[in-house]
Symmetry: C2
DNA sequence: ACTTCCATGAAGGCATCCTAAACTTGCACT
DNA sequence: AGTGCAAGTTTAGGATGCCTTCATGGAAGT
């Protein structure tokens, strides 16, 4: 029963194919195939079985895969204890983030990290809510968001921490009649022309709530994802749109709070238990939470 | 941070010297010395330091040593889950036991194990109470006893389970005036000639309790350890002695209960957490507890 | 039928873990 | 002080085992 094998099974379960695991761990599929054989020989049980083009875990494989988390977390705790005894946390923390939240949070984080021995490796990606969880395989921390709850879809088994709750406002061009309002109800905006996001993407559920609350079908003049593009279209008066309050820069538009429907997203940092045990990762997570609390308090 | 290194540090802490660990794991001290270096290089911390003739763990070494238990237990749980999924527990269970309790318990255990796929490897040793804990390094289960409590001295960090509580009776030769009594008080036996055990060995504390209760100093005509020898001396009328009720065979003497002082020992099975996770070990432990309960109930 | 994707198998390179033997250090005993 | 012993370390060399390369065989999709 070797940790290497537990890790392999876990990765295989998560990534699906030997090739994917091989790429992620900088080895060849052949190596992993041989490791699987070795593990099966040592345990005397089949761990995988062929399934269509790839592999499927057997019941024993599932047991190892799920047990791996406990074992790796225990090892990580020991490592963390050693790091703690040695003084300041150090090392590289790999962060993956959705762009808008990253823009709002990371400058302050990097600033406060300056001078320390922690370095940050950053990647950003714009995904559907449920896809952020998978990125924790490649990053120590992933800054995701959740529209309906405080844990993003698919992140149930992971460590998660709410960094901030960010209101989603209605962006209207400066000259627009609604721009002077201090708050809007669904009925106020049901007749507007909307710059929307595709179904399944962030904020789409809020638009659907507006439709549910008013009974109307919104006039979606265009569906795009990139917030920068949305901002410029709103500025030109093409329509109104939903934009997150903290991570939208000033421009020729105003952000007006939307009341009467749940119009808020949770910015959540998620990560694998074993990764989060690392002192450096934990320190960054604490910092994120602190900066996030500042957003909620200060605006 | 490799499990092999954690295990090495744990063993080193327990056994004290590299040589002892090497002997126990069928390797040479040289191999272990090299492993220690490798671990120190990988962690960037000193794990051991020379101390008089041997080694002492540094703070970092202590952290690894104590963290090892968690990690190994987590691994053992995974193994146990696989075993459980595979059906009947199997394998070899190594038991160490104090002779008297072994004689009382193990025949029934072996009988009920017959036909199964568990084999027992048995060793017996007669030790002071505090020395049994150390034997869990070499055996999966150790049957020890505790005179004052339900956990033997030194077994605090181990898994322990009380198998039986065995009264310690006064053995008197058949023709002796006290042989007809159904119970004895300290005052009844304070004036007898005693076949005693050396100080620090089993039952010595009971004799001291008798002295404390009566104020007398017992007449210790001889001090020996082996119960078989004690039995034969009692039979010849050399004196009276303390003997455990369940594990003393019939002979030319009677066992008379002693009242007024705590005259009972707990038969306790102890073992390391990671070892006890094994299905087969757990099965044997359950069996021991069951047989032990039968002793207490039936006599 | 062809291509693509995925897993597997054999052969060989290379790291690493271990043993053996000689050396060093510290303690105890005379 | 000298000897002996116990424990750890060092070096060299051998065996094991992990991984890569290259080649093979199925299973889907086009």
């Amino acid at each position: 029963m070797e940790v290497r094998h537990l890790e392999l099974l876990r990765d295989l379960k998560e990534r699906g194919t030997l090739g994917a695991v091989a790429a992620a761990t900088y080895r060849t599929p052949s190596a992993l195939s041989q490791q699987l054989r070795t593990a099966e020989r040592e345990l005397g049980v089949a761990l995988v079985e062929p399934a269509s083009r790839g592999l499927r875990l057997t019941w024993a494989g599932e047991i190892l895969a799920s047990g791996a988390d406990d074992v790796l977390a225990a090892i990580a705790r020991v490592q963390a204890a050693v790091d703690a005894g040695r003084g300041q946390p150090a090392g590289t923390v790999r962060i993956g983030t959705l762009p808008s939240a990253g823009a709002a949070l990371l400058p302050a984080v990097l600033e406060r990290l300056a001078g320390g021995r922690i370095t940050i490796e950053l990647e950003d990606f714009d995904l559907a809510e449920a896809d952020y969880a998978g990125r924790t395989l490649d990053h120590d921390l992933v800054i995701a968001h959740s529209l309906a709850a405080d844990v993003p879809l698919g992140a149930e088994g992971l460590v998660s921490r709410v960094i901030a709750r960010e209101p989603i406002d209605v962006a209207v061009a400066t000259g627009h009649p609604l721009a002077a309002r201090t708050a809007l109800e669904p009925a106020d905006v049901a007749g507007e022309r909307w710059i929307a996001v595709p179904r399944g993407f962030p904020f789409a559920t809020i638009l659907e709530s507006v439709e549910a609350a008013t009974g109307a079908t919104l006039d979606r003049v265009i569906e795009i994802r990139d917030n920068r593009l949305v901002e410029s279209l709103v500025s030109r008066g093409v329509g109104v749109a939903l934009l997150p309050r903290f991570s939208t820069p000033r421009g020729d538009y105003r952000l007006v709070p939307l009341r009467g429907v749940r119009a808020v997203r949770s910015i959540v940092a998620i990560g694998r238990a074993d990764r989060v045990e690392r002192q450096a990762v934990r320190a960054v997570l604490d910092l994120l939470a602190d900066v996030g609390a500042g957003l909620n308090a200060g605006g």
